[in-house]
């Protein structure tokens, strides 16, 4: 094949374009936080998930251990059914506590896991028995105002 300077420029252009896409995916987007590692799925029921979204992080002691994979409404219990994919490297006792927490005052919501003391570990398809729902700011303010009104009587 005959080589021309044109080919070099076009090659550089294509490389620059693909590099831009890769930068967007890894540096700007959340590609780097998708872990391709083996995961197992656990479930949790919450009475209120607040602003939790799929792909939100699951953390234990602040360490990223998994991601929320799907959120559906269970129409038998009328509770939110949240499926989470946990990294296989991490095992959790059967009585682990799952809370919906917020990073910062108005930041992203995530699931925080507090390990219990059970000898038995949660297996694929297992379920967190103890959960705590998201703190809804309006409810909190409402309670606070009721308390204030009662204490001032």
């Amino acid at each position: 094949m005959q080589r021309t300077v044109l080919d070099l420029w076009v090659g550089a252009f294509v490389v620059a374009g693909i590099a831009a896409l890769v930068i967007l995916a890894f540096k700007v987007g959340n590609m780097s936080t998708y872990n391709a590692a083996d995961t197992y799925r656990l479930q949790a029921y919450f009475t209120n998930i607040g602003g939790l979204k799929p792909t939100a992080s699951v953390r234990s002691a602040g360490v990223l251990v998994g991601r929320v994979s799907s959120i559906t409404l269970d129409t038998e219990r009328y509770q939110a059914k949240v499926a989470v994919d946990i990294d296989r490297r991490y095992q959790f006792p059967a009585d682990t506590f799952a809370n919906i927490l917020t990073s910062g005052l108005l930041g992203e919501q995530y699931i925080g896991l507090m390990a219990g003391g059970d000898d038995e570990m949660l297996k694929e398809g297992g379920q967190f028995k103890k959960t705590q729902s998201a703190v809804v700011l309006e409810e909190l303010i409402g309670k606070f105002m009721v308390n204030q009104a009662e204490s001032s009587k």
């Binding site: 420029w9 252009f13 294509v14 831009a20 967007l24 995916a25 540096k27 700007v28």
Partner: protein
């Protein structure tokens, strides 16, 4: 009963527009049908990639950086009121990746490369080069139109990605380096907000659609131009106007399909 002149004029232009859409569709089908040659002789596409893609790099890069810098400044001013300057990264990145990158890159591409394509093909027609090709049994659609079409379709998403990446860099420059937003929260909030499948892939799909539409309009207007100096200049103007309108309207439709907030 005689029809008033104004009504006749409206009817004429509507029928004319529908007619042109029909011919343009046939032109697209013809281009796709005769694309075999340009893929077998890839050098043809490479040559057009140089003139439409590489030559647009500077304007795309500079425009992207400045759009990102403006977003950084304006976004900071607004976010400061709510005390959430740390969300600057996600604001800059989301608006670039979802909307501004594909749309502005396509608008620039239409005026930088699309107009050149129209003028080139229109002039080829005016100077009877197209007719000469037909005389030599060379299919002008396969030889002239198809390579330019594919070069446009390939370079548009790459240019849009470069625009967005440069824009994020510009936002970083103003937000973090100049104003002093915390770099860690700038990047981490951005990564938390931008989803690869939802935002980046949808942006790429948008830019591919814009690439097809802009290149098709440019090539069709050039091929359809009356072979006079006036005809070529009118066709070039129409290319820029029509493709700009098409980009903005299609952007609304695509956005309505992609981001319904569910």
């Amino acid at each position: 009963m005689p029809v008033p002149r104004g009504v006749r004029a409206i009817g004429h232009s509507v029928i004319e527009a529908v007619w042109r859409i029909g011919i343009a569709s046939r032109f697209l089908a013809l281009t796709l049908l005769h694309s075999g040659l340009s893929w077998r002789r890839f050098q043809l596409i490479v040559k057009e990639l140089f003139s439409s893609g590489v030559m647009s790099l500077i304007i795309i890069g500079v425009a992207g950086t400045f759009v990102g810098m403006v977003l950084g400044l304006q976004g900071y001013e607004t976010l400061k009121r709510y005390g959430s300057e740390s969300a600057l990264g996600s604001l800059v990145a989301l608006s670039l990746v979802r909307e501004l990158g594909p749309v502005l890159a396509a608008l620039l591409f239409a005026s930088r490369a699309g107009s050149a394509m129209t003028a080139e093909i229109g002039l080829m027609k005016a100077t009877e080069q197209i007719a000469a090709m037909e005389m030599m049994a060379v299919n002008p659609v396969a030889r002239v139109v198809a390579p330019r079409f594919w070069a446009g379709v390939i370079s548009m998403p790459l240019l849009a990605a470069i625009f967005s990446a440069m824009g994020v860099f510009g936002g970083y420059l103003v937000g973090v380096v100049l104003i002093g937003v915390d770099a860690g929260s700038f990047w981490s909030q951005m990564q938390a907000a931008v989803d690869v499948r939802e935002d980046i892939v949808n942006g790429v799909i948008k830019s591919v659609v814009f690439g097809i539409v802009v290149t098709l309009i440019a090539l069709f207007e050039g091929f359809d131009a009356p072979p006079t100096a006036e005809g070529v200049s009118g066709a070039t103007t129409r290319t820029v106007v029509e493709s700009s309108l098409a980009i903005l309207m299609l952007d609304f439709i695509l956005t309505a399909f992609m981001f319904r907030g569910v």
